[in-house]
């Protein structure tokens, strides 16, 4: 069979001692640097990318791919341990992962994240090998109208995420939308809500918002309690997931992988959307949704799987079409270009050793990640036994370093502090930060695509219902609305 022969070629290339060493170095470096918030895969790759100038093409790309996976995973570690999301995709992991850590279950949470990521990585790699070109072409069916309907569906479904009071949830989504539109409007080129401050012209960065809302606000709340209680339960119950944990996490991992693999192929939306979407799905499917938000293992497994599957399939548009789906992929594309390789439709034929070697090393990278991280779980967990009065200043320090390093500008650090205050006020008002973040991510995308779709259709709104894929999303949106409203209506008719 062709696939087997190709994979054999790939593993033949990647399994040389030299390439394995580069892959390992990449994964280790990526994990180390990825632990800093804000210093996600993009910055890590861009900074280390000159190192690869002096390497031949195959090891260079293998090392960059290793850095990419490592950095991606590093963000999850801090999300779980100290509520510090490194990048968009790991913000969702914070919600339940951090609660698990507080209950002395940081070990199982970290191990689950690693194993779920590994599973998703394997599936993603296989998918690229089997159906890369087909999926790449499929992604081209997504135009502005399709994105608009998809975003609308996601926003409507996000109502599911809110705990209890849906008015507060809605308010948070709208607040997120407002934060999201700060900066230059894509369509007109006008600045909005920038108040003449040049730093706001490009909008408020994701790291600033997420770190402020999650990490900073959490620390303020913890310090407020009069008696200096330890934040983490002293008793750590086991480092590895129990059999029950694995049973609970298995299906969410599979569903997360499927969602992530689909979203990853779509340029521009990728990992963030997929982890939000799977989280909502799991919460809806769960027998007891109230467990979500207070340490449900499904809430860690599903988004972690989704985010890793999406990270994997994000390579598809780049490798098969030569189109970077994200800024990180753009750097990878530049790296390929500098090595004299024109990524695109011909790369599979012109450079089979590179293409299949990369695919094999993706799998090896994922594998090394697990090998590297499972033994580290014990060390990470021990970190939590450090008294909080020493732990919190270090977390704050990392928040500052991370925010500063995004654009080497102290302004972002101040802004993060201000958003931290906002986050604290929201906690006091018992408002969830997650819907705010979702509004912040999806709102601007929805606006951009809605206006673009109407611009292309010359103002004809029926475009959302005449394009088949878009129509499917619209019908799904309607169904979600019905499902959400129906139980409420039934409850109203039969008062308790």
């Amino acid at each position: 069979m062709d696939l087997l022969a190709n994979l054999a070629l790939g593993f033949g290339v990647a399994f040389s001692l030299e390439n394995l060493a580069y892959c390992f170095a990449g994964v280790a470096l990526g994990t180390l640097i990825g632990v800093l918030p804000g210093v996600g895969p993009l910055v890590t790759i861009a900074m280390l990318f000159p190192i690869t100038f002096h390497l031949p093409a195959v090891p260079a790309i293998i090392m960059l791919a290793g850095i990419f996976y490592g950095a991606q995973y590093g963000g999850s570690t801090t999300s779980i341990l100290v509520n510090l999301p490194g990048e968009t995709a790991s913000a969702v992991t914070c919600i339940d992962g951090y609660q698990m850590a507080r209950r002395g279950r940081a070990g199982p949470a970290l191990a689950t994240a690693a194993l779920a990521s590994f599973f998703a990585g394997c599936v993603g790699t296989l998918l690229i090998a089997l159906a890369g070109p087909t999926l790449g072409e499929w992604a081209l069916n997504f135009g502005a109208a399709e994105y608009t309907s998809l975003m609308l569906m996601a926003l409507v479904a996000s109502a599911v995420m809110t705990q209890g009071d849906s008015a507060k949830g809605l308010a948070m989504v709208v607040l997120g939308l407002l934060v999201g539109v700060v900066g230059v409007d894509v369509n007109s080129g006008m600045s909005r809500y920038s108040f003449g401050i040049p730093e706001l012209v490009d909008g408020i960065g994701f790291t600033v918002v997420a770190v402020g809302l999650f990490a900073v606000a959490e620390i303020v709340v913890n310090l407020e309690s009069r008696e200096p209680r330890e934040v983490y339960t002293g008793k750590v119950t086991g480092l590895m997931p129990t059999a029950q944990d694995i049973r609970d996490a298995a299906w969410p991992t599979v569903r997360g992988t499927a969602m992530g693999a689909c979203f990853g192929v779509l340029p521009g939306t990728g990992p963030a959307l997929s982890s939000f979407a799977t989280y909502m799905l799991e919460k809806k499917l769960a027998r007891d949704p109230s467990r979500f938000g207070s340490g449900a293992i499904e809430g860690v497994a599903a988004p972690e799987a989704a985010n890793n599957a999406a990270a994997q399939t994000a390579f598809i548009p780049m490798l098969t079409l030569g189109i970077p789906a994200s800024a990180t992929m753009a750097v990878m594309l530049a790296a390929l270009t500098l090595q004299g390789i024109a990524a695109g439709p011909q790369v599979m034929l012109e450079k089979p050793d590179l293409f299949w070697g990369l695919i094999a090393s993706m799998w090896i990278g994922n594998c090394l990640l697990v090998v590297l991280n499972l033994p580290l779980v014990g060390i990470w967990v021990r970190l939590l036994t450090v008294p909080y009065r020493w732990l919190f200043p270090s977390i704050i320090l990392f928040c500052c370093i991370g925010n500063y390093s995004v654009s080497n500008n102290p302004f972002d650090v101040y802004l993060c502090a201000i958003i931290g205050v906002l986050g604290y006020v929201l906690v006091k008002l018992e408002c969830e930060p997650a819907p705010l973040l979702l509004g912040y991510v999806l709102g601007p995308l929805l606006e951009e695509n809605l206006r673009r779709a109407l611009l292309i259709a010359r103002g004809d709104p029926t475009v959302f219902f005449t394009r088949p894929l878009s129509l499917v999303f619209m019908i799904a949106t309607l169904l979600i609305l019905v499902i959400m409203v129906a139980p409420a209506a039934r409850r109203n008719r039969q008062p308790k």
Binding site: G189, D202, L321, A334
Partner: protein, 323 residues
């Protein structure tokens, strides 16, 4: 040996402490040089800077440290450079937006007089590509088609005010035709839109779009430079295909704050030109679609002045609103 270097260090410390002016007498460069880049790591600007920095450090005998200060189309970094001490220890990667920002944004600096321009590092051009379904193979056919269907053809761009946008605006301005602008966030999504047929026309950076053209996904029509690009000598320029005088280039340059002593500017100029002439750096730049230039400070200053006035007119005529 060791004693002597300690003595040297102590002397240096004394000199530093005693009189600040003494530093000016120490042979330049005496400490690391800050190289400001107006975009976060990863973009073309950053890659150009990182391709140059290692050799540049080697030639100058001091490390050249890249500092990414992203934001407001590089105007945050440019502002910093404009107001930095003119001692040769701060230099700026002049981004392509330098020529268009005065017309688009409110700036706290003078884009010409606040700088000592060192050299034009590299220049890249765009390639006009169309979706295969658009019945136009040449610039003349495209103009004729656009005249029959005014406002009907959609063109994509990587954002308002970018060269992908302004290439099209200049084209319309010079030929009197009308297209509809559909902006995207970044070059990736813009190119996807062209390949999927959501827009029919796109002016993209040569290396990125040429491989799509070679794969038959899009059709190459013409390049925007004054000369044909070495990367694709078979593709004509817009200027030679019926729009004489049309030229759009994406220019990356190097500048220091105004009032930087001429001797320092000359030293930086000499070394950076040597960097551009070294084969591995020039090959790396060419792979990005950027042709290394390395002209004199005078030629580069004149170039910047000319570009600013040209784009000011186009932006005004096209009615592009900034802040």
């Amino acid at each position: 040996m060791q004693d002597r270097s300690i003595v040297r260090l102590l002397t240096l410390a004394l000199v530093l402490g005693a009189a600040h002016s003494a530093l000016a007498q120490a042979p330049y460069p005496a400490r690391p040089i800050r190289f400001l880049v107006g975009f976060p790591p990863g973009g073309t600007n950053d890659i150009v800077a990182r391709a140059i920095a290692p050799k540049f450090s080697e030639f100058l005998g001091q490390s050249v440290v890249i500092e990414n200060r992203g934001g407001a189309n590089a105007s945050i970094a440019t502002d910093l450079a404009a107001h930095a001490a003119p001692d040769g220890y701060t230099i700026l990667l002049v981004a392509p937006g330098h020529a268009t920002n005065p017309a688009l944004l409110k700036l706290n600096f003078d884009s010409i007089n606040d700088f000592a321009f060192i050299t034009l590092l590299a220049e890249s051009q765009n390639l006009l590509v169309v979706h295969p379904s658009l019945p136009a193979r040449t610039v003349k056919e495209l103009i004729a088609l656009s005249k029959r269907r005014p406002g009907d053809i959609n063109y994509g761009s990587s954002g308002t005010g970018t060269t992908t946008h302004l290439s099209a605006e200049l084209f319309q301005y010079m030929t009197g035709i009308k297209w509809t602008h559909i902006p995207y966030k970044g070059g990736g999504p813009g190119l996807v839109a062209l390949i999927s047929g959501e827009v029919s026309l796109y002016f993209g950076n040569v290396p990125t779009v040429i491989r799509q053209a070679r794969a038959g996904k899009v059709r190459a029509v013409a390049t925007t430079g004054s000369k044909r690009t070495p990367a694709a000598p078979d593709i004509p320029t817009v200027a030679e295909s019926g729009v004489p005088g049309y030229e759009v280039t994406t220019a990356y340059g190097m500048a220091a704050p105004a009032k930087t002593p001429r001797a320092i500017v000359d030293r930086l100029h000499a070394d950076v030109v040597r960097v551009l002439n070294s084969p591995d750096v020039s090959n790396r730049l060419r792979a990005l679609g950027a042709d290394p230039i390395g002209n004199t400070p005078e030629q580069y200053t004149a170039f910047v002045k000319n570009e600013i006035s040209k784009w000011g007119k186009v932006i005004k005529a096209a009615g592009i609103k900034g802040e």
